[in-house]
Symmetry: C2
Subunit: 64 residues, 2 copies
């Protein structure tokens, strides 16, 4: 339904799929972002939220 | 549809409505976050994204 697909952009501007069906997004101390999918799959990445378009179900993060 | 309601939490932990029907969320330089609703209404706040639950259509920001 309203989950989003998270992508990560590397230093060269290359966009790669990070996690599908993302529900929870929580920036954490130390410049990390925690992502949890509706299936409970979790990823913690060193980076920051770059942009989000909820209507397009898109979350773009940038590598630290 | 998949827009979210954005709330802001102040230093005392009080949660207030910031903007409804949010589509675009973009952290900006200088510790700001830009929010744009599906109707084009825009708010830029000094603060950071605290947590998001896309399935619950909830975005919580914290004041700087």
């Amino acid at each position: 339904m309203c989950e989003a697909t998270a992508y990560i952009v590397d230093a060269a501007g290359e966009e790669k799929l990070l996690l599908a069906d993302v529900d929870v997004i929580e920036p954490e101390d130390g410049g990390q972002v925690r992502l949890v999918s509706i299936y409970g799959e979790q990823k913690v990445i060193k980076g920051r939220i770059k942009s989000m378009s909820l209507v397009n179900h898109r979350v773009v993060l940038a590598e630290a």
